[in-house]
């Protein structure tokens, strides 16, 4: 599913349990809890580990605790309890070392609009103590990387939202950090600006930098991440690779349109069942023809088409529907609600809410 060209970090080993392999860890969180002074527990019993070089996604709806978590990891909020180690340094005891080791891109675009792109980067270089001699080259490299070289000496206040975001991301990288936190980096951007940022994040990750991304866009997590954790109401409710999470929901669905009435459909069904990868329970009749559920649509789809053609069945329509992370998210959200309060009525209400979220996600 991942369309990443060459991934420096090998894909996370065991996808079903999603245990990170034994590599040095960029992020190691144990039993993190964060309670605000008004008593709101924003993060509860969160345990997670992100190995070096991974593109890790933290997925959840608004208010789930994503930003609170990322702020704790980036030393901006002190944990109420639990331990957080970033690149081996404790976020409370060793705050300055953590700050020197990470890049942080906040949810709101943070650039100094009165300064030019180059001046923003120069300030970031100074702030992170980049050696004077490396500065000019580093700044030029980053301006190229985020395609802002042509407007390097223009005040950032004149930039579009996407350009500001790219500049913001570049300033988080001046010190070549091992780990970058990106808090909902594409919220509010148009699709083109979003795609450019995605390219850019992949390039960062390809250079070996660990990326910790929060997002409420399921598509974004699916597109970019090696591994995901899903957070809801301050708790992690699922984790694994995007593919593994999708498998939790069930297989892909192949829809076949068959011409020639009921007999033709019966003949087609018989042909389909002959394929060793198909068992009876996964074949259903529909108004247009047949529906086949499978875990391997990529291979089965073409096989079926060839078999049907050889059997003389006229296939008028063919489509494959792979479950999206939206489906995963809805399934998980429902599971979590069911587990929390059990009552069917409550689950129904929650499902409606989940549907609303689903709609919102689709509309976006």
């Amino acid at each position: 599913m991942s369309q990443r060209p060459s991934q420096t970090a090998e894909p996370s080993g065991d996808e079903t349990t999603a245990r990170p392999p034994d590599r040095p860890r960029s992020v190691a969180v144990e039993d993190l809890e964060l309670t605000y002074s008004d008593g709101t527990r924003a993060v509860d019993e969160v345990t997670l580990a992100v190995p070096r070089g991974e593109f890790f996604g933290f997925l959840g709806p608004n208010g789930a605790g994503k930003t609170t978590t990322i702020k704790v990891l980036a030393t901006l909020l002190e944990p109420t309890s639990g331990t957080v180690r970033i690149e081996g340094h404790d976020v409370t005891a060793d705050r300055t070392r953590v700050r020197a080791a990470i890049g942080y891109m906040a949810q709101e675009t943070s650039v100094d609009e009165e300064l030019t792109a180059r001046e923003n980067l120069a300030f970031a270089c100074d702030a992170y103590g980049v050696p004077r001699g490396d500065r000019a080259d580093r700044i030029d490299d980053l301006l190229d990387l985020v395609d802002l070289a042509a407007v390097a000496d223009t005040p950032a206040g004149t930039f579009s939202g996407g350009m500001k975001k790219r500049l913001d991301a570049a300033t988080a990288l001046v010190h070549d950090p091992q780990l970058v936190f990106l808090d909902e980096p594409t919220t509010g951007l148009d699709p083109e600006a979003r795609n450019r940022l995605w390219d850019y994040f992949r390039r960062i990750n390809d250079r070996g930098t660990t990326v910790f991304l929060t997002t409420q866009y399921l598509e974004e997590a699916d597109e970019l991440c090696d591994r995901l954790a899903v957070i809801r109401d301050g708790r992690i409710v699922a984790d694994g690779s995007p593919d593994a999470l999708k498998r939790r929901v069930g297989g892909a669905v192949i829809e076949l349109g068959i011409d020639g009435g009921s007999d033709a459909v019966d003949a087609a069904a018989a042909t389909v069942r002959e394929d060793p990868a198909v068992d009876d329970s996964t074949v259903e009749r529909t108004d247009e023809g047949l529906r086949v559920t499978t875990n391997d649509a990529g291979e089965l789809g073409p096989d079926l088409l060839v078999a049907l053609r050889e059997a003389g069945v006229a296939v008028t329509d063919f489509s494959v529907e792979v479950p999206s992370l939206d489906d995963v998210f809805l399934a998980i959200a429902d599971d979590a609600v069911d587990a929390f309060d059990g009552a069917k009525a409550a689950a129904g209400t929650a499902r409606d809410e989940a549907d609303d979220r689903h709609r919102a996600a689709v509309e976006r």
């Binding site: 081996g88 943070s110 009165e114 001046e119 103590g129 010190h175 091992q178 250079r207």
Partner: protein, 299 residues
């Protein structure tokens, strides 16, 4: 003043960074961090000099208008109050310098609020820079901005005929006293900014402070008996009197009677002492609020 953490000390330590490489030093030093932040705020001021220039224009207008409108009346009042022979322009100079200083000082709180709004505040906090150095650098740039304005206004006033009896040393003293007042109102504007988190409130507060304080002081005319009691609690009274003592080369303080230091110093010593005390008080509050805003405390 309690720094929120030991970051100033730890900033120079070894940090693992880069793609698996170890960089021996973050390269940060306390004074380096001060310089970096002073540079940032100076660049911002240079890129957008409108406010800076307007403050100079307003001060110049005040100087011209007040001396033209109140000149003759003012000099008669001056003679009655024991300032016989002092021309009104010279008498007015401290008022205009205070006005320019206060106006400029409030840009400190405005800059802070804009940084809070734009996320630059958080972005600066999350760097390995020392928290103390970040704000010291910002304050240094703002004080430098005030110095430039004061020098311009002083130069214009002298060109228009104002006399500084104590010469260049006295003029340096004038700038120093103005900076004490500037620092005080920078602290005030930061407190307002951190409590309100709204730059329009900071802007309104600057007007709210500036005009009553200037008029309830001996800035424009010598104090009448009616307002003397109020003026004694007005920090601008001490700033104006200290500057005026340096401009005229004599004791001008009316709200306190001090006689043990000798002539000009009878004004300077108590006035500066009051301003320093107020700076410590309001400064401590501002530093506390800034420390809280930059801390990782979950609120």
């Amino acid at each position: 003043m309690s720094a929120p953490d030991a970051d100033a000390v730890a900033a120079g330590e070894t940090a693992v960074s880069g793609t698996g490489t170890t960089v021996s030093d973050t390269g940060n030093t306390f004074f380096g961090d001060v310089r970096v932040n002073a540079e940032r705020w100076t660049r911002k001021a240079v890129h957008n000099p409108t406010a800076f220039l307007l403050e100079i224009v307003v001060a110049t207008f005040s100087l011209v208008l007040f001396s033209a409108v109140f000149g003759d009346v003012g000099e008669a009042a001056l003679a009655r109050a024991g300032f016989a022979g002092v021309d009104y322009l010279t008498f007015l100079l401290p008022a205009v310098l205070m006005q320019a200083t206060m106006g400029s000082a409030f840009s400190s709180g405005m800059g802070l609020v804009r940084d809070l709004d734009s996320g630059m505040f958080e972005k600066t906090v999350v760097t390995p820079m020392s928290w103390t150095a970040v704000f010291a650098g910002k304050a240094a740039a703002e004080l430098a901005r005030i110095v430039v304005q004061l020098v311009v206004v002083l130069g214009l006033a002298v060109a228009m005929g104002a006399r500084i009896e104590t010469g260049l040393v006295g003029a340096a003293g004038v700038v120093a006293v103005c900076l004490l007042v500037g620092l005080l109102f920078m602290a005030v504007s930061n407190v307002v900014g951190l409590l309100a988190r709204d730059d329009e409130v900071v802007n309104a507060a600057s007007m709210l402070f500036m005009f009553p304080l200037l008029f309830l002081s001996p800035a424009f005319v010598p104090l009448s008996d009616d307002i003397e009691a109020v003026a004694a609690f007005n920090p601008i009274t001490y700033g104006v009197d200290a500057v005026r003592a340096l401009v005229l080369g004599r004791d001008t303080l009316t709200v306190l009677s001090v006689s043990r230091f000798g002539d000009t110093a009878n004004t300077l010593v108590p006035a500066v002492a009051v301003l320093v005390a107020l700076n410590l008080l309001v400064g401590a509050l501002a530093v506390r609020l800034l420390a809280r805003a930059s801390s990782a405390e979950a609120v």
